[in-house]
Amino acid sequence: MNDLSVHFEGVSKIYPHFTLDDVSLELPAGTIMGLIGANGAGKSTTIRILMGLVHQDRGRVLVLGREMPREQAAAKLDIGFVSEDMRLYGPATLAWHMNFVQSIYPKWDQPYAETLLRRFDLKPRQKIKGLSHGQRVKAALLLALARRPRLLVLDEPTTGLDPVARQEVLGELMAVLADEDRTILFSSHNTLDVEQISDQITFIDRGRIIASDNKEIFLDRWRRLRLVLSPEADVPSLPGVVEVGGSGRLPVLVTNRFDPAMVSACNDAGATVQAVDPMTLEEIFVANVHSRREKQIV
């Protein structure tokens, strides 16, 4: 029994203007992974390879124990996929779509579908073309969730949603996780959503994975230190410093290997630690991207 729902090993895909380079990922069953990246970083390419929609040039992809893209038909019975460019059939109603999906997937759960209709405040008789963007996203999500898939893959599920709809969607995603055999992978550039509900976080930039870890580790190890140097002291050299800002006697350091012992080490070196700020995932992501890009240039 393989308890990894998604497993990428050294996956590459070369396009004329973009390369997905040596991507390795492990997503254990029962967890949520948030894939964070700027626009064009490779999030959607990664997801398309995972779904077998794009074939990798190199590397191995296992999804729910199935080899992709070779066994994609079998794998997809248990994957629910919602993407931004999801095309529902405009002239038909939501009820028509529900019937259609139900006729294909034997695990369709009608009572759950009806619960979701109420929670998402959707009307089955409404035609898709009359729905707002937010309603369309929720409709697509309903169609995926009610199949009770073991793996949910969501490409930017909360983009363009109003705050109420966003919370409804996040709540429903968490409800899926109440069952510990279900797994969610979602991409987003909204780091707040990812910070709130993800267990695992993967940063992707320019086609490469630049960091992948559990969320608590990210939030624990990244700190911004604001220092006051005594006149003759230099900026102390600390482990894991990725960014030095501030000016003159008031430097600001960002480290990704924070340890409370650093504070006394700084004080000993003639640098008073004025503040140790925790960082949001967004700040961590931006600092991470900047430091990687600088290294690439050098």
């Binding site: 996780l177 993800s198 267990d199 969320k215 925790p278």
Partner: protein
């Protein structure tokens, strides 16, 4: 029953610390009784809409502090620990003492003067009760 925990996005502290604090309070005021079952990690994560790993971390630290007990495959209970209340008050006391020390420094009091002020206060309290 447990949806009354509130995670604040504007509270600067990490989410796991907020969860720990609120669970401690629930126990301190007796909402969550000693020896009683508390929500599973997954249940609480779903209700609070925060990641499983965050709640897991809060539970692990609470267990390390001896405030809850997690049994393999059985879920978690509030520790049947008679010193639980004392421990909570102890933490509260530590907070106030820190504050006293800060104020003392602000007023330029020496540790000795500070200590005698604390002693006076304690003496007054003893007199009131006797």
């Amino acid at each position: 029953m447990h949806s009354d925990l509130v995670i604040s996005q504007t509270d600067g502290r990490p989410m796991y610390l907020q969860i720990m604090d609120q669970i401690r309070q629930r126990i301190a005021v007796g909402d969550w009784e000693q020896g009683k079952e508390i929500p599973s990690i997954r249940q609480l994560a779903v209700t609070l809409r925060v990641s499983v790993i965050t709640v897991k971390r809060a539970y692990m630290e609470l267990e390390r502090d001896g405030i809850i007990v997690t049994q393999q495959g059985k879920g978690s209970i509030v520790a049947p620990n008679p010193r639980l209340g004392a421990k909570l008050y102890d933490e509260e006391l530590a907070k106030h003492i820190n504050r006293v020390a800060q104020l003392g420094e602000l007023l330029g009091l020496t540790p000795k003067e500070l200590a005698s002020r604390v002693r006076e206060a304690a003496d007054r309290l003893t007199k009131e009760y006797s």
